[in-house]
Amino acid sequence: MKRFLSLALALLMVLCLVPAAMAESVADLAKAAESMTHEELVEKALAEEGTFVVYGNTSRIVTAAENFSALYGIAFEGSNLKDAEIYTKLSTEIEGKSKGADMVMIQDGASLQSIAIANGYLVNFVPASVKANVAEADQNPLIQQFINKTFIWNNKGENVPAITNVWQLTEPQFKGNIVFKSPDAEQVNMNFLVMLTNEEWSGKLATAYKNLYGKEIDLGEYPNAGYKWIAEFLGNCVFGNSDTTLAEEVSQETAQGKIGLFVLSKLRSSSVLTENLTVGQYQAAETGVAIEPFSGFMYPMYAMLSSNASRPYTAMLFIEYLMGADGFKPWGKSIGAYSGNAEIAPLEGDLPLADWKASLVMEDPAYILANYEDVYFFVNMFLQ
Amino acid sequence: MPEIILKNVTKRFGKFVAVDNLDLYIADRSFITLLGPSGCGKTTTLRMIAGLETPTEGEILIDGETVFSAEKGINVPPNKRDVGFLFQNYALWPHMTVYQNIAFGLENLKWEKKKIKSRVEEMLALLKIEQFVKRYPSELSGGQQQRVAIARTLAPSPKVLFMDEPLSNLDAKLRQEMRTELKRLHSDTNSTFVYVTHDQLEAMTLSTQVCLMNNGLLQQYDPPLKIYGGPANLFVAEFVGNPTMNFIPADVVKLEGNRVELTMLGKKALFQARDNVENLGEKAVLGVRPEFLPIQDGGAVKGHVYSTLPTGMETTVKVTCGDTMLTSVVFGNVDYPVDMPISLSANGDQLMLFDQQSGNAVGQGSLTIMD
């Protein structure tokens, strides 16, 4: 009897130890794996079981996952969701300890920081094989690619809105002629507006104003030039719900005089009549006259591990894959996508990432979070 | 022997008292009617005995077995009480044929198929509805539906049969016919019948005992003729009998043993009761059935003909006597001109005297009108 009891106790101890051993966190695994070679990752990934689950707020993540799955023979489920939905799902699934994603590809740096990273939902991982090719600043959280939204206009008819200064957009003749996806409908658009209120961009906007009109800007009630531009720009905008639709509509023969600020890569869609469109920054590259002080904005798409991943090594392998040339193919075949890996050049005909970065407003999550409510309340006035 | 005993049965719905402290003994093989105006608690009583309603207080025994007791916490479900129930609206199942309607209950009692078939056929024959066996209830007339309902109720041979105004949806002629059938069935089936009706004629013609209720209270529980001849109070007197009993208000002048001197219709009269009259106040009501108030030349009560209502076998004559309207019944077919002066006399020893205050009967006897 005694022996039986001690045996049972021993067994119990072993049982207790097993989950403790298994409970090594995804973060620890990721840290340890940062020095692993590609082969080691593959070996570990193939040893894992179950379906590999990917969430992404880009439709092409599914294509990438399909190719990845074909390459390694790993069954996957890919879901293309809105960024806000992904953040909601992550928090409910991880807090509720239910099975969710293994890996997530997502935009909106501010929410990434304040929701996913602050609460430990997502874990960073930089594959050793690409570390050298990714800029230091883009490594934590790891940026898989950059996406740009830029001024694109209809080039038909007499009144082509070929702007050279963003203040032109605040003039009365642009009323109702600018299309922009509502900042309410997509966070990155809101983030862009918030960024305009910082010192750097409000300063640049003030200078641009002076350059255009030859006089100092009169701020009136506005805290700075950024606020003034936001107010007058949004006042002239009509809001859409989808960048694809906006691209399609601006490209119509009937849309003469219209200009939009939307995702460049939407020009790939068959329903967009690209011959009717002119991309401001491309024209600037040809003529040498850039749009002052920016020709749109750019935001990163991050690739991270989910902290409740059940296939963490597969997720790491997939991140490595996405950072490579093959993994970037679904995006790389059209303009408007720029890999975080410096080795991968943009599509021919597109501009290099550095050129874009110089002429676009970039996200700064810390500034956005600190000033979000203020700008949101302000912007809210023009959404009604 | 299925006798039914109710002890202090009370049923309250919230604050409303539907049945108030009812005691009732229903003898084996009797045909009891629960009679009263709508809302008097008769249906509730029936449903409580059948087990479809749970009493708030009291005790119910069927065949010596306590089927309900609030005190002891006994409540036997309806199907264990061995009773049959015939519903006012027949409650035939519209999606089943006549055969299925009758057989369904038997199947449920786990009877053998063969036995069910023979029993159903027996019932169909008893109620003369063999030709409808394959029909659905909607394809039958009201009377035929009623027969099916009876057949369905009788099929399991319940010891006690409850009927809730089963004839109220039939026309006058059919009702008459079904009454005859029911009375015959009662003697054929050898079971106890409890029958709810608001039709006093039905109660009079069918039952061995009538239980007359009003506002949840038992008014009188007696054989029909006793109820008719010796109503216990004004309510019973008025409810039973058609045409209604004459009620003549009277002032009590003098009360001596079983002799009461009254002033009524402007005259003095002497009421001679069989027994001593007790509990009579200053005001009384004299109750005279129309047949005891015949038209008689030289009768003491003088009046004028208001209208004459002949039915063929007898004639009801309405007579005004001062402010009072009196009803008299004359055998045969007579017609009096309107406003003709006429005289009536109060005959027999079955006149009733009620105390006006309480409404209770205080004596039965004969009346002599002076001067």
């Binding site: 689950v53 006035m381 009604q384 | 609206n89």
Partner: protein, 602 residues
């Protein structure tokens, strides 16, 4: 002294639970409290909680702490006119839209109900059968149709012309295309069948003697209408008004399609835009909507409570004297028929058309293809999917998942509806019965989106309540009001004797339900299954937050596609949903006789 309860008390409890109706009511009371009141409490808690993300950085309190900050923001922030723009203006818009929509529904639905039941109108059969279409179809059907049909370069985003401008050259003004007017009109048309069914039911059952008596007294027609017909249907009118009002108030898809292009916000769309950034504020708006709903329910109950006393439903008098429309007959019939075709048929044709054109706005044959339906290798289109929807494993899987969910919800809600209906009617008048009746109606008042958000929060606290389970649960609860309504209606039409006749011979309860009650009221009960099923198939906002990633529903897929701007696939899927819904409705109706109107019918 072992047992503190006397035999009497124990017997009473036993007698109470001896009745299946009581067991049902107690069980549903408990379950529904958990499924409706608990979410409500959670929702109220969320309004005073700091949420992750921007709330943490703006409020500067840790996640989960108590705060009145969101309440202050929503109700009392004058900075940048915030409260006015975020709450008061949308609230005003909501009330304006809901009121106008319910009036349109009543005038149109009630008017047609009168024409159908009380006049010798031509084409009655066609009009009455097509009239319920808009109610069966998803509400966004008409909204998207309206936008695609009337949009033009002069209004809204104004970059392309819809059919009206492109084909007929007519440019409608902005107020006509977007905002208050079309939202109210589309919602009004969507709910008109609801009014038609409720008011038509009363008119049909109304004892014609009442009108005949007036006719004999030589009352003039209009006077009769004003003094007799209207007062009799007034409770139904008011009840319809309130029900449509509360439905229109929480409608989301119509204002998002027709409001957002011109920045016209209502509470539901505002809630949706807030819930991602400032969930606390979003939940407050949801709570406000529920408070409105509950007050409306209370008013409605007061009105319908007194209804019984007025409507005489004898069903005896069958000869209703029909009003002769004389010369007006054909014109009215033709106008209605054309209107019905416009509202119910043209949208379908439009969707079909939009799903076959390659480049938007070009309706020439050379620009058409069936690839979006049956094509393969469509990567050249770059529209998200590489195969036509009828061949796409993804779409077919979503269709299967939608159907599975709809059937599950319909079975659960429908069966619960039968049971609840039984319990409520059997114990009519008791407090418990009223309580369960209210509880089972409560989900109707919960704005779908907020309800979904709370269930999402709930699913994190309850193990196993994820994926399909939570979808099926919320769908069943949300559509229980429809099912329990038809359950109650069906039971009310059955006299208690029908069941008692079986009780007497000892038929057990389950057998009475299966063999007696259900078969007799089959079509009414089944209608209680049909409505949840149809609603589930077309539901979006309720499920959007809860849909598991591995399985999409047709509706969430549709939303995704329309957000991505994949119009052709979107239109094709939209058409697929509508056809499936109509088909289900038609088949169930033909096979069992159940119909939507029986389910809603009062």
């Amino acid at each position: 002294m072992l047992n503190p309860f006397s035999a009497r008390q124990r017997a009473r409890v036993r007698a109470f639970f001896g009745k299946p109706a009581n067991i049902i009511l107690v069980a549903f009371c408990a379950v529904l409290s958990v499924l409706t009141l608990y979410p409500l409490i959670l929702l109220l808690l969320e309004t005073v909680t700091v949420h992750a993300g921007k709330e943490v950085t703006s409020i500067k309190l840790p996640r989960g702490s108590f705060t009145l900050y969101s309440l202050k923001n929503i109700f009392a922030t004058s900075r940048f006119n915030y409260s006015q723009l975020t709450f008061y203006q949308p609230l005003f818009n909501t009330l304006a839209v809901a009121l106008t929509a319910s009036l349109i529904a009543i005038l149109f639905g009630g008017g047609v109900a009168w024409l159908i039941t009380r006049t010798n109108l031509k084409c009655k059969k066609f009009i009455s059968s097509v009239f319920v279409f808009p109610y069966i179809m998803p509400a966004w059907t008409l909204a998207t149709f309206w936008a695609t049909f009337f949009k033009n370069v002069n209004v809204g985003a104004g970059t392309s012309n819809g059919i009206m401008a492109a084909v007929f050259g007519i440019y409608m003004p902005e107020w006509f295309v977007y905002g208050y007017f079309p939202i109210s009109l589309v919602l009004g048309l969507h709910y008109a069948p609801f009014a038609y069914i409720l008011i038509g039911g009363i008119l049909r059952n109304m004892d014609a003697n009442l009108e005949e008596a007036a006719t004999i007294l030589k009352t003039r027609r209009w006077r009769m209408m004003m003094r007799i017909t209207l007062p009799i249907v007034k409770p139904a009118l008011l009840s319809t008004l309130l029900l449509v009002f509360s439905s229109a108030m929480s409608a989301y898809s119509v204002p998002i399609f027709l409001g957002s292009p011109v920045r016209y916000y209502v509470l539901s769309t505002k809630m949706m835009s807030l819930i991602n950034n400032f969930p606390g504020q979003g939940y407050i708006i949801a709570a406000v909507m529920i408070i409105f709903g509950v007050s409306i329910l209370a008013v409605n109950q007061k009105i319908t409570g007194s209804r019984k006393s007025y409507t005489t439903v004898t069903g005896k008098s069958s000869q209703i004297s029909l009003v002769n429309l004389r010369g007006g007959n054909w014109p009215i019939a033709i106008i209605l028929t054309v209107l019905m075709i416009l509202v119910a048929v043209v949208p379908l044709i439009t969707f079909a058309l939009e799903s076959v054109i390659i480049k938007a706005g070009d309706y020439s044959l050379s620009n058409m293809t069936l690839d979006f339906w049956i094509g393969r290798n469509l990567n050249y289109l770059d529209q998200g999917d590489s195969t036509g929807i009828l061949l796409s494993a993804k779409v077919l899987k979503a269709l299967g998942y939608s159907l599975l969910l709809a059937i599950t919800c319909s079975v659960v809600a429908g069966t619960s509806g039968v049971l609840v209906g039984y319990g409520i009617v059997k114990r009519r008048g008791s407090k418990l019965s009223t309580l369960v009746s209210n509880l089972s109606f409560f989900p109707y008042l919960m704005p779908s989106l907020a309800f979904g958000a709370i269930y999402l929060a709930m699913s994190t606290r309850v193990p196993g309540l994820q994926g399909f389970a939570v979808l099926a649960l919320i769908g069943s609860v949300k559509y229980l009001p429809f099912a329990s309504r038809s359950g109650v209606n069906a039971m009310l039409q059955l006299s208690g004797e029908i069941e008692e006749a079986a009780v007497i011979v000892g038929v057990p309860w389950y057998k009475r339900m299966i063999r007696i009650l259900f078969p007799i009221q089959k079509s009414s009960f089944l209608s209680g299954y049909l409505l949840p099923m149809v609603s589930c198939m077309r539901e979006l906002s309720l499920f959007v937050l809860l849909v598991p990633t591995s399985n999409t529903l047709l509706t969430t897929m549709l939303m995704q596609y329309s957000e991505k701007g994949w119009a052709q696939f979107g239109n094709a899927i939209n058409l697929m949903i509508i056809i499936v819904v109509l088909l289900v409705n038609f088949l169930v109706n033909k096979v069992t006789g159940a119909s939507i109107d029986k389910g809603v019918g009062g």
